[in-house]
């Protein structure tokens, strides 16, 4: 404050600051032994840097893993990602079902009153199926993949033609005596005229997650 005498404690504080910042005497330096800053500081810095980098990467990785749990589970479980392809004889086995595609006939004629709409045709697919499932009914969905990546579902908007065609393959039965799995099964698929089919996909809720059968078309 103006008009007041200088504080006598100011001088002592200045002395204390001077002592704290003063260079140590050579005797004190000798007594303390060699300084460790020069040899160890860069090494310790490198270790600190590496540890921090590893911790950062691990932290971000863990966060990303937990944050994407639902997306990963949904993507994997709900999608078709693992194609099971046929052996040299055309057979595919996804226990307890074995099947193979034995016929694919384009532009099938189904008789008067059952013709497809203008610009569409029916593709007939015939399968041989065997199943060791005798405890429960199982069905397998059939789709046709075309060059544009479109999937055309069998049994949709096709005529009901008695026992000639099924909308889904029968892949298991709970009554093997009276209602066995037919060894030959055929289905119809409605496809636009511009579709170029490349393969047939067979899928079932009973298949392992993300797995499906892919049968190339000739």
């Amino acid at each position: 404050m103006s008009g007041q005498a200088p504080d006598p404690y100011d001088d002592r504080a200045q002395v204390a600051r001077d002592e704290a910042t003063a260079e140590p005497s050579p005797a004190l330096v000798r007594a303390a032994g060699p300084a460790d800053d020069g040899a160890l500081a860069p090494e310790r810095s490198r270790v600190t840097t590496v540890v921090a980098a590893v911790a950062l990467v691990l932290g971000l990785g863990a966060w990303g893993w937990f944050a994407t749990e639902d997306a990963r589970d949904g993507w994997w479980a709900l999608g078709e990602h693992v194609a099971i392809t046929p052996d040299d004889d055309g057979w595919v086995e996804v226990a307890p079902v074995r099947l193979r595609l034995v016929g694919a006939e384009a532009d099938v004629r189904t008789g008067p009153g059952t013709a497809p709409p203008a610009g569409f045709s029916y593709l007939e697919l015939t399968f041989e199926v065997t199943s060791e499932e005798t405890e429960a009914y199982r069905s397998c969905e059939v789709e046709v993949l075309d060059e544009q990546g479109r999937l055309f579902l069998a049994g949709r908007e096709v005529p009901g033609l008695g026992d000639d065609y099924v909308s889904e393959l029968m892949c298991g039965t709970s009554d093997p005596e009276d209602d066995p799995v037919p060894s030959t099964q055929a289905t119809l698929v409605l496809v636009p005229d511009d579709a170029v089919p490349v393969s047939v996909r067979v899928d079932s809720r009973d298949f392992p997650p993300a797995s499906f059968v892919e049968l190339p078309l000739p």
Binding site: T49, P117, G119, R150, P192
Partner: protein, 186 residues
């Protein structure tokens, strides 16, 4: 500052930045459903996600045609539209009417599958009518919103939105089931 300290400081800033970005994404998108809206107009095709939609028009009346006309306390709206998918056979997860205040009107209960969305295939178009029930003050500002995929907050999606010009009539409305169209027809 030494190079090591710069590296540590950079990593700390990066960690804070990534965390902040994650919070922003979670707050703005994931928590409320991450979707993009594609705007269309009546009479033209619009593609929203995996669905292609073509709205022909919309009509409103205070009764539905049946053996005995079914009255409404508000207005029934039937939307005449065609749609197909782009990839595989599927039914839209949800189709709603939205007014200018953001109110959403879904398919009314008690009608079963009548006037509800139907299954369509890849480039396999079906035409029919969807049924809604709205209050009178919503009639002039309705848009049709087609949500093709399940509105999952964990994955981004796309919806199609088409503003409607609603015509009112005194005649009870008729609801048509979706039926398969010849190729390239709408």
């Amino acid at each position: 500052m030494t190079r090591a300290r710069w590296a540590v400081a950079t990593m700390a800033v990066a960690a804070l930045g990534v965390g902040g970005l994650a919070n922003v994404v979670d707050d703005r998108y994931l928590a409320s459903g991450w979707h993009t809206t594609v705007h269309g107009v009546e009479g033209e095709d619009v593609v929203g996600g995996t669905f292609q939609v073509h709205v022909h028009g919309a009509t409103a009346a205070q009764a539905l045609a049946d053996d005995e006309p079914v009255p409404s306390a508000g207005w029934y709206v039937v939307v005449d539209l065609s749609y197909a998918t782009t990839d595989e056979w599927s039914t839209p997860e949800e189709v709603v009417l939205v007014d200018r205040d953001g109110r959403e009107f879904t398919h009314p209960g008690g009608f079963g599958s009548t006037g509800a969305p139907w299954l369509a295939g890849p480039d396999i178009w079906f035409r029919g009518t969807l049924l809604f029930e709205v209050p009178e003050d919503a009639l002039e500002s309705l848009s049709l919103v087609v949500r093709g995929e399940r509105p999952r907050p964990i994955l981004p999606g796309t919806v199609a939105r088409v503003p409607l010009t609603v015509t009112t009539t005194a005649e009870p409305l008729v609801v048509e089931r979706g039926s398969l169209l010849p190729r390239r027809e709408r």
